[in-house]
């Protein structure tokens, strides 16, 4: 219990700092949040997903963000477009409603009677369709990124060609 509270507080601090910093530092705080989330997931009894979350969330996403930030700029923006009181109000209202909705129900939740199949059986037998859809999404994502980034090289080529033509 104490460890859980401690980790939760750490996660909240990481999230707050991620939102308030410049992009590059924010990416590092996000990595911290992912790591703490991974430890929490492990403590809750889900070691497989904890490992995946650690490597993907804390590793892959951070590297991608760093890569994107290096291609973009790291400047901090002027103050937000939306008046701060409005943003605070909406967030507090949404958070408050969620807490009011969820927390009283939790003691009423009972353990499900049906036995929980092992992880391997769940993934490969019961949710095979999920896996197939995941593969399709990954392929679509790869194709999308290739076509998006492919435009950059084609554009520079045509720019150079038109420059040559002008000269």
């Amino acid at each position: 219990m104490a460890i859980t509270i401690f980790l939760l507080v750490g996660a909240v601090v990481c999230a707050i700092l991620a939102v308030r910093s410049k992009p590059l530092v924010a990416a590092l705080w996000l990595a911290g949040l992912s790591a703490i989330a991974a430890i929490l997931i492990y403590l809750l009894g889900a070691p497989q997903v904890a490992v995946i979350e650690l490597s993907v969330g804390a590793g892959l996403i951070t590297v991608l963000l760093a890569f994107a930030i290096s291609m973009a700029e790291d400047e901090s923006m002027p103050s937000s477009l939306i008046p701060q009181p409005l943003a605070w109000f909406l967030v507090l209202l949404a958070g408050g409603l969620l807490v009011w909705l969820i927390l009283p129900e939790i003691p009423n939740v009972s353990q499900q009677v049906a036995a929980d199949a092992p992880f391997v059986v769940q993934i490969w037998d019961n949710r095979l369709l999920d896996l197939i859809v995941q593969i399709v999404i990954i392929l679509a994502g790869v194709l999308g990124v290739l076509s998006l980034l492919g435009e950059t090289s084609k554009e520079t080529h045509t720019e150079e060609a038109s420059m040559e033509g002008l000269r």
Partner: protein, 603 residues
């Protein structure tokens, strides 16, 4: 032929075109010969696999499963059932698909974005095979939507032409509307049945409460009407002729529009008990048969005549399903696909060489393009139902079934056959035999000795289809036996009381209905001949044509009315879109809060 090959054959039939579509898509546009070869090879592999599925060792009854992928308990298994209805349509789709691809080698030579074209055609062939072979209702719907998407993408293939784009969107909207109907029917069925398999539905539909069954029956009927372009949802098919002609031949004559008839035939045994269903099916079929035939008399665009003709012939097939003649309807579908594809491809060759689709500008092609004229006339003879072409046998069997069912239906179908003969004669006359009209002389001066050179691939495809028209009807008896063996739920409806061996025989030729139809047909051809002789113009005008023209205009106006209402509503909503990310997020957050308030309120 070993039974163990069955899953592989099914995989080849459905999967090869899709793999081919992906490979063709990543091949560059700068290598047309590679693209042509790859596309033809993949579609031919699929065609051979589908033909091998016809072998007796691969016969599967509807309540057996040929191949399944377990998908967990929620949606059931992704099953494929290679029974008579499905395999026949799969054979049509792949064989005519591969002939269309071969034809496109010549037709689309020099065209831009060839890889996108071939990829879409192959994707379509695979989706169509998946649709007819599917044994799971949900996957049938998925493949249905995939074919609708491919149809839209291919109609608007020349996407710099605003007419093509508008036609594509019109087709998409109408067929997707039908798809919504199909989805509603499937969801209601899934809520009331233990699982989503087609065989379960056919077996247990009798246990559903009659009002639920009625809702499912009419939503499926709505989907079939939209997909098969029956009245009143037929308006998308004539406009869809903006597509490249091989696409018209494949999708809008031989394959996709048959999906609606397939749906009706597949679920017919379940829906017969619903009061009024068969009556409405027959009514829709006859209305389409007659109205579209009337519109065909008045069109001057060669492809539009063929499009209206397709709607009319589909009306015959739908009527066949409605009166319970499942075999005759499927056999008619088979014959129609072949000769309609032949007509479209022949029209494509003509349009490609002359550069125009207007029949008033064509003429004298009998002398100038005999290599296209003869197959085209064979196809037209089959359409009209002249003896011993495959159209004759299928039409006679269907009309004979109507004769035994109800004399009014019989009479109307015979009148339809007469109108068919009339517009077919008009079409052949205007294209092949007469001079171009004086105002349109620019294209084909009569005295020119120039014979257009038709690409070998176009001639090959047309030739193969013509051979099929001449001889494919010999398989009718065997087809009937096969259907009777593998369709346990349809068995009472397949040639009830007839012996399949006597289908192709003198008894059929000399039956009353056949002689009546033949005489009406010959009268109609004679009427056109007399009209030509008395030197009347090729444009048919008069009060009847005005009435038909007004009806068609009314249908088009209602469709555009719905579109304009939607557009004005969209214009009002556009004011809320500032385009800035953060304000959009405020909107999302407010929606979230509203949802949470509702949830708290419910609790």
């Amino acid at each position: 032929m070993y039974r163990e090959f069955l899953p592989y054959l099914i995989f080849l039939t459905i999967g090869t075109p899709w793999i081919g579509a992906f490979i063709v898509w990543v091949t560059s546009d700068n290598r047309p010969r590679a693209l042509n070869f790859l596309a033809s090879a993949f579609s031919l592999i699929a065609a051979i696999a589908a033909l091998l599925l016809l072998d007796q060792s691969q016969w599967t009854a509807t309540n057996e499963v040929s191949f399944q992928l377990p998908m967990g308990p929620f949606i059931g298994d992704m099953t494929f059932v290679a029974d008579g209805l499905g395999v026949y349509l799969a054979v049509i789709a792949t064989v005519i698909g591969s002939l269309t691809v071969i034809f496109s080698i010549g037709y689309m030579a020099g065209s831009a974005q060839l890889s996108r074209y071939y990829a879409l055609v192959l994707l379509f062939i695979g989706s169509m095979c998946g649709l007819v072979l599917s044994g799971n209702l949900l996957f049938l719907f998925l493949f249905w939507e995939a074919t609708a998407f491919c149809s839209y993408a291919l109609i608007s293939f020349h996407n710099d032409d605003p007419k093509a784009v508008a036609a594509g969107i019109k087709a998409l909207i109408i067929t997707q509307l039908g798809g919504v109907g199909l989805l509603i029917g499937i969801v209601i069925a899934a809520a009331n049945l233990p699982d989503l398999q087609v065989s379960t539905f056919l077996a247990q539909s009798g246990s559903l409460p009659s009002n639920i069954l009625a809702v499912i029956a009419f939503s499926f009927l709505f989907a079939a009407i939209a997909k098969s372009a029956q009245v009143p949802l037929h308006v998308w098919l004539p406009d869809a002729m903006e597509a490249p002609t091989p696409v018209s031949a494949l999708i809008h004559a031989a394959t996709m529009v048959n999906a609606g008839v397939y749906l009706l035939a597949r679920f017919y045994p379940s829906f017969v008990p619903v009061t009024g269903w068969t009556t409405i099916v027959i009514t829709v079929g006859i209305l389409s048969a007659l109205l579209a035939a009337g519109m065909a008399i008045m069109s001057n665009d060669l492809k539009r005549v063929l499009a209206y003709s397709t709607v009319s012939q589909l009306g015959y097939m739908v009527t066949g399903v409605g009166i319970g003649a499942i075999f005759q309807s499927q056999f008619y579908l088979f014959s129609h696909s072949i000769f309609k594809a032949l007509l479209f491809l022949g029209a494509g060759a003509i349009i490609h060489e002359l550069g125009t689709r207007d029949m008033r500008e064509m003429g004298n092609l009998w002398k100038r393009m005999p290599q296209v004229a003869i197959p085209f006339l064979i196809g037209a003879a089959a359409l009209v139902g002249l003896p011993f072409f495959n159209g004759y046998w299928s039409k006679e069997l269907l009309i004979e079934a109507a004769f035994e069912y109800n004399l009014v239906v019989f009479g109307l179908l015979v009148i339809g056959a007469g109108i068919t003969a009339f517009y077919a004669s008009r079409m052949c006359w205007m294209v092949f035999f007469t001079k171009p009209q004086a105002a349109f002389e620019s294209f084909a001066p009569v005295s020119s000795p120039h014979r257009p050179h038709v690409h070998w691939s176009m001639l090959l495809a047309i030739f193969i289809l013509a051979i099929n028209v001449l001889f494919a009807w010999l398989t009718a008896g065997r087809f009937a036996l096969w259907l009777r063996a593998v369709l346990p739920y349809h068995a009472p409806y397949i040639l009830h009381g007839h012996d399949p061996a006597t289908l192709i025989s003198w008894a059929t030729i000399f039956s009353i209905s056949a002689l009546a139809t033949l005489s009406v047909t010959i009268l109609a051809i004679g009427a056109w001949w007399w009209r030509v002789r008395s030197d009347r113009p090729a444009d048919v005008s008069g009060r009847m044509s005005l009435a038909i023209r007004w009806l068609d205009f009314a249908f088009n106006r209602s469709v555009s009315g719905i579109a304009s209402v939607t557009m004005s509503a969209a214009g009002l909503l556009q004011k809320t879109q500032t385009g800035q990310l953060n304000w959009n997020t405020v909107g999302i957050a407010m929606a979230l809060i509203a949802l949470l308030i509702i949830l708290v309120g419910i609790r």
